[in-house]
């Protein structure tokens, strides 16, 4: 476990190191969230042929910071009829669920907060904590819109966890491990060794490539649904549900929901990158590889996935709740099972 953390090598195995390791992703998360918000603002502006925020700092780069300060300063309103304890607790639970997943994300060859053997499985498990938090917030707000949003959110989360899990399970079969570091190590080499392209192997892997590509796509779609991003932002669906489960939240508590959403975006991107896109491996064999380059590649690839998420958000309309269920249960689930079957077959034959 220890050898994957440069901090343990540096400072030894003690309480301070453990706390530092747990806090390091939080620091990263704060910086990342600011960048992602800026990205969201600027990319959407670019797609819509406008300039986006321009006033705060050079070309508006300080805009996310200003928004965070604004959110912190804002009055924290608790509805009179809300169930106060649960209402106050919910944003933290949601954030905990999102942040817990960071425990196993391998940022680099030499830094993963916890290199447990069940990394991928663990990420799927803690994902459900967020669902509980969302129901908590939606119910405790004592508002029909939030309640509808919470119900939709949980239904969506549960439905899309299965195709996503099938996609990840196929990777577990291919790499015969659930440890995220092991999966990364299995994909070392040029980019055609990524599991997206069937994993390492020679020409006999060619026939499995369509299935692994399909699984990548399925995981991408499922991850969009799990993070409530357009076209699956039905729980928030601002045109009908105002803002879904966080309609009543304001100020810092709203910021927590917001933060959790961005954290979740990174988590699913990280899982996608780790499982399908080689994680911290350089796409060019040993060229530009190493611990620091690893972090660069990992974060760079994740940001690319996040860019795709933002891109889709500003391009597509929203699905309806029954169409969402239809897509999840009747299209993605059977397709993911078929892909899983063929991937397992490939694994057995080799």
């Amino acid at each position: 476990m220890g050898e994957t953390n440069f901090l343990i090598k540096l400072l030894g195995d003690n309480l301070i190191t453990v706390l530092l390791i747990s806090a390091l992703p939080l620091g990263f998360l704060v910086v990342y969230a600011l960048l992602a918000i800026l990205g969201e603002l600027k990319i959407s502006a670019w797609m819509q042929e406008r300039v986006g925020p321009m006033r705060t700092g050079w070309k508006g780069v300080l805009q996310p910071l200003a928004e965070v300060i604004k959110l912190i300063q804002k009055e924290d309103i608790t509805p009179d009829a809300a169930n106060k304890p649960l209402y106050n607790l919910a944003p933290y639970i949601v954030f905990t669920g999102a942040y817990a997943a960071f425990a196993v994300i391998p940022f680099s060859e030499f830094f993963v907060p916890s290199g447990i053997n069940l990394g991928l499985f663990y990420i799927f498990a803690v994902g459900s904590i967020g669902a509980i938090g969302i129901v908590m917030g939606g119910w405790a707000s004592n508002n029909k819109y939030t309640l509808l949003g919470a119900m939709r959110s949980v239904a969506q989360l549960i439905s899309y966890e299965i195709p996503g899990a099938m996609a990840i399970l196929s990777i577990a079969v291919l790499s015969s491990s659930l440890n995220m570091q092991e999966i990364n190590k299995a994909q070392t080499g040029w980019f055609w060794n990524w599991f997206m392209f069937g994993g390492p192997g020679s020409y006999e892997k060619l026939w499995v490539i369509p299935f692994t590509l399909g699984l990548t796509l399925i995981y991408m779609i499922a991850s969009l649904a799990e993070t409530n991003r357009t076209p699956f932002d039905i729980p928030e669906g601002e045109s009908e549900l105002v803002a879904g489960y966080h309609t009543e939240y304001s100020g810092m508590k709203f910021a927590m929901f917001f933060f959790a959403e961005y954290a979740n975006m990174f988590v699913v991107a990280a899982v996608l990158v780790t499982a399908f896109m080689g994680g911290w491996n350089s796409p060019f064999g040993s060229f530009l590889s190493g611990p620091l380059w690893g972090a660069f590649w990992f974060i760079g690839k994740s940001f690319f996935v996040i860019f795709v998420q933002i891109w889709l958000r500003w391009t597509l309309p929203r699905l309806r709740v029954d169409q969402l269920m239809y897509l999840g249960w009747k299209i993605l689930l059977p397709v993911s099972f078929i892909c899983f079957l063929f991937v397992s077959l490939f694994r057995m034959l080799n």
């Binding site: 042929e49 045109s239 500003w314 391009t315 597509l316 309309p317 169409q323």
Partner: protein
Amino acid sequence: MNETKKIQLEYSQMESDRMRLNVGPQHPSTHGVLRLEVEIDGEIVTEVIPHIGYLHRCFEKHCEKMTYPQVIPYVDRLDYISAMNNEWPYVMAVEKLLEIKVPEKVEYIRVIMAELNRIANHQIAVATFGLDAGAFTPFLYFFRDREYILWIMEKCSGARLLFNYFWIGGLAHDVYPSFKQEVLDAIKQVRKTNAEVMNLLIYNKIFIDRTANIGILPADVAINYACSGPTLRGSGVKWDLRKDDTYSIYNRFDFNIPVGKGEVGQLGDCWDRNIVRMYEMEESCKIIEQAVAQMPDTGDVKEAIPAKLRPPKGAEIYQRAENPKGELGFYVVSNGTEKPDRIKARGTSFVNLSVLPVISKGYMFADLILILGSIDIVLGEVDR
């Protein structure tokens, strides 16, 4: 049988609690201060009761205290998205009462302005409809292009939204020298964006899935509810006041009346009503091109404006015109003085909105928002 119907059937066999949901008056998708009392069973809408009047500004009562020209700014505020089109039937009604012949040039400028405003209105209608479906980007594309039209109107009338430009017997100002060229440039831009939005939004698979086969309005129901404009034409009724009850100089132009054909779903669904607006923009562009080509360069736009406005006592007229949203009518009764005895505005949105409870029953809650968006209401006109 489509998916919604199937779900509806499955739900109808279940016993469940119904929830009353209050949509509006402050809600992002009610297009203003409309309040809908919705009864939902799970996600299925079982009943919709519109409550209107939150924007009631006593237009008709005010008119009794105003002289005829003073009413025009009030008329602007009915359907504030397409104010030029609102002014037109009103000034036509008063012109008919006074039996004024409007100069040729004025008629052409009025046609160009009204058609430009029709494009601007449909741009907002399609944009907000897309927004209701969750597509934000086309919304901003349309708003960018609408600026080109608003600039022209601003240069002509001095205002961007509420113009007070059509006066009884004439216009407030003449157009400026580069007017024709700028109009042609604007419609070039409109066509470019429309082509892009057709790809990006209208024929998007998700958008079709969302809007086709919902909110089906059969033609006979539409006529019985006196729906008009794209709401009626979306149901396949080829009826346009510009052709069927022609006014002004519309008989000089060559244009088509687009109707819904049920291209991707059933006839009269939300997609059909929306596509009619897209095609109508193109037809408006055609009319503008012809009008610009035919428009005389010389002429005084104020020559027919009467000094004294006293229609004969007891004279009354109902004048209607094709507003972008449908038939807008003004019923003007004179009592022989400078002030009208009674002005009744037959608000297009008011009439079109009354069909909402019928066409939204049995669909999902998310569809209700789209159905409301597809009939394109403006609360200023509903509540007056």
